[in-house]
Symmetry: C2
C-alpha cells in the first residue's frame, strides 16, 4: 500500500511553476496575475481565498483580492467582472462561491470571459472539456488526474467508479477518466444518491474516486484488494483531539480501507493540496496563452 502524498506533489508543482515564472520574467514578461473576488465574510470562503492568495505569493504570481460586502447588487458584481475581463494586467480570476442568495450564481459564472475562467466553470470550458478540446479544467478533477499521472497509475481499461455527480467534481472527473488520454481510457461508472447496491459496484472497482462528502462512508467491505482510492471528501467533524475543535474527515474509513489499497490519498494531505496548485496551473496557462 502506498500513500499518495498530495502535499509533496503539490510542493513539487509549485516549485516547477515558480521556476517558470522566473523564466517568464527573465524573458521580459510580467509574472502571471490572478484576481479573486470575495463577497461577504463566510468563514470557509475567507479561508479558501486566503490560501489561494498565499499560494500565488509562494510561486511569484501577482494576486489581487477584491472584496465586497454581501449586500452588493448583482449589477455591481457584473460590473466588477466586466472590468476584470477587460483588464490586460489580469490573466485569470475567480469569483469565490457560494454567493449571497440575491445573486444569480450561474449568471456570474457566465459573465466571466472563458479565456480568464481559471476555475473552469463557464459552459464554454465545461463543453470544451467534454469534447476533449484545450480548456481550463476545474481544479479538483485536474488535481486528481495529475496525482494519477505523477504516480504513474495505469488507468487504461481499468474500471473507475466515481461516487458523486456534482458539476465541479463527479461529472468532469468521470468524463476525463473515460477520455482517450492517459490518465484516462478507463471504463467509468458514475454513482450517486439514487444508486442501488452501491457496495456491489464499488467492490468491482479498480479505481474509486469518492466525492460524496459523507465522512467515513466507504468501509473495508466495500472495496476489493488492490484498489486505487482517491478520496475527495473533506468534511469537518467535531474532535476533542484538536485545538480548533474539529478535524477533516474524508469519505473513506481510512484505517480499515488503507491496508486493502494499492494506492490511497489521505485526508488531509491528498487531493486537497492539489486543488490550489491546479488553480495556479490554470492561471499560468492563461498567462501563457495571452
Amino acid at each position: 500500500m502506498q500513500i499518495i502524498d498530495g502535499k509533496k506533489i503539490a510542493g513539487e508543482i509549485k516549485g516547477e511553476i515558480a521556476e517558470e515564472v522566473i523564466r517568464m520574467q527573465a524573458a521580459g514578461r510580467r509574472p502571471p496575475h490572478l484576481a479573486a473576488v470575495l463577497v461577504g465574510h463566510d468563514g470557509g470562503s475567507e479561508t479558501y481565498v486566503a490560501h489561494k492568495v498565499k499560494a500565488c505569493e509562494e510561486v511569484g504570481f501577482r494576486s489581487t483580492l477584491i472584496r465586497y460586502e454581501d449586500d452588493i447588487a448583482e449589477s455591481g458584481l457584473l460590473s466588477c467582472i466586466a472590468r476584470l475581463n477587460a483588464d490586460a494586467e489580469v490573466d485569470g480570476f475567480i469569483v469565490q462561491l457560494p454567493l449571497p442568495g440575491h445573486i444569480d450564481e450561474q449568471k456570474i459564472i457566465e459573465a466571466v470571459l472563458p479565456s480568464k475562467d481559471v476555475d473552469g466553470f463557464h459552459p464554454v470550458n465545461v463543453g470544451r472539456m467534454s469534447i476533449g478540446l484545450p480548456c481550463f479544467v476545474p481544479a479538483t478533477p485536474l488535481g486528481i488526474i495529475e496525482l494519477l499521472r505523477r504516480y504513474r497509475i495505469d488507468t487504461c481499461g481499468k474500471h473507475c467508479v466515481v461516487l458523486g455527480r456534482s458539476n465541479i467534481v463527479g461529472k468532469p472527473v468521470s468524463l476525463l477518466m473515460a477520455q482517450k488520454t492517459q490518465p484516462g481510457d478507463a471504463t467509468v461508472t458514475i454513482c450517486h444518491s439514487r444508486t442501488k447496491n452501491l457496495a456491489d459496484i464499488t467492490r468491482q472497482a479498480d479505481i474509486i474516486i469518492s466525492a460524496l462528502g459523507q465522512p467515513e462512508f466507504l468501509t473495508a467491505d466495500m472495496v476489493k484488494d488492490g484498489v486505487v482510492l482517491i478520496d475527495v471528501g473533506t468534511t469537518r467533524v467535531p474532535s476533542q483531539e484538536t485545538k480548533s475543535g474539529w478535524k477533516l474527515k474524508g469519505d473513506v474509513k481510512f484505517d480499515e480501507v488503507a491496508p486493502k489499497c494499492s494506492y490511497i490519498t489521505p485526508v488531509p494531505g491528498g487531493v486537497g493540496p492539489m486543488t490550489i496548485v491546479s488553480l495556479l496551473r490554470n492561471t499560468l496557462q492563461a498567462a501563457q496563452q495571452r
Copy 2:
C-alpha cells in the same frame, strides 16, 4: 418483450409539432425556419439533408438548403455562417458533417451562434447540457431520452450501460442518464474500445444504450433477462435481400437478443426516426425562444 416503435413515436411528435406551428401562425407568427448547409456531394450527407428538409415540410416549417462545392474555402463557409447567425428570418441551422479535409470542423461548429445551434454541437450547448441548464441537446441523445419518456421506462436507480464514448451520442447520453431528472437518475457505466470484460458489464445492465456501429456485436449471452435495449447502431451491410444491395444493421443481434428484453428498439425504425424529429424539436424551441 415490447418493441419500442420509434417510427410511430416520431410520427406522433411530428403531429404535435405541426399543431404547434398552426397555433404559432394563428397567433400571427411565421413558422419556424431551419437552414441546412451542405458542402460537396457525399452520398450519406445528401440523404440525411434531404430527409431533414422533407421533415421540415411535413410539419410546416420553412427550410432553406444552402449548397457549396467541396472546394469552398473555410473563410467562405465562415461568411455563410455569419450571415445565417445575423438573419432574423432563420431560427436555427445546421452545417452537415463531415466537411472536406481543408476545413477545420471545430472552427465551423464554434462559429455557429449557440442560440441557433440546433445540432447542439457548440461547446456552450455541450457545457450547458453537462451542467443541467436549458440548451440544445444533440438529436440522437434527445431522441433516446424521449423514447424512454414516452414508453414510461423507469430509469431511476437503474444501471445503464452505455457502449461508445462519442461526442454526439455516448458522452451526452451518459450525462443525461446520470442527471437528476426523469428519465435519468440512473447509475451509468461508459464503456468503449479499451473496456475489458465487456460482457461481464453488459450482463449487469438494466438498460443498455449501444452506439458502437459494430453490426450484431451484442449477442444474447451478453445481456440479462428483462434488459431495456436501445440500439443506436446503423451500419450498412451488403445484402442480397434488398434492391439497394445493402440493409441497415444495428449493434444488436436482434433475433436472439430481443426475446430476453423487456423493451428493445429495432433497426431500422427505432432510434433513427427519432433523430430527425429531435432536430425539429430543437428548431421549434429556437423559434419559440426568439
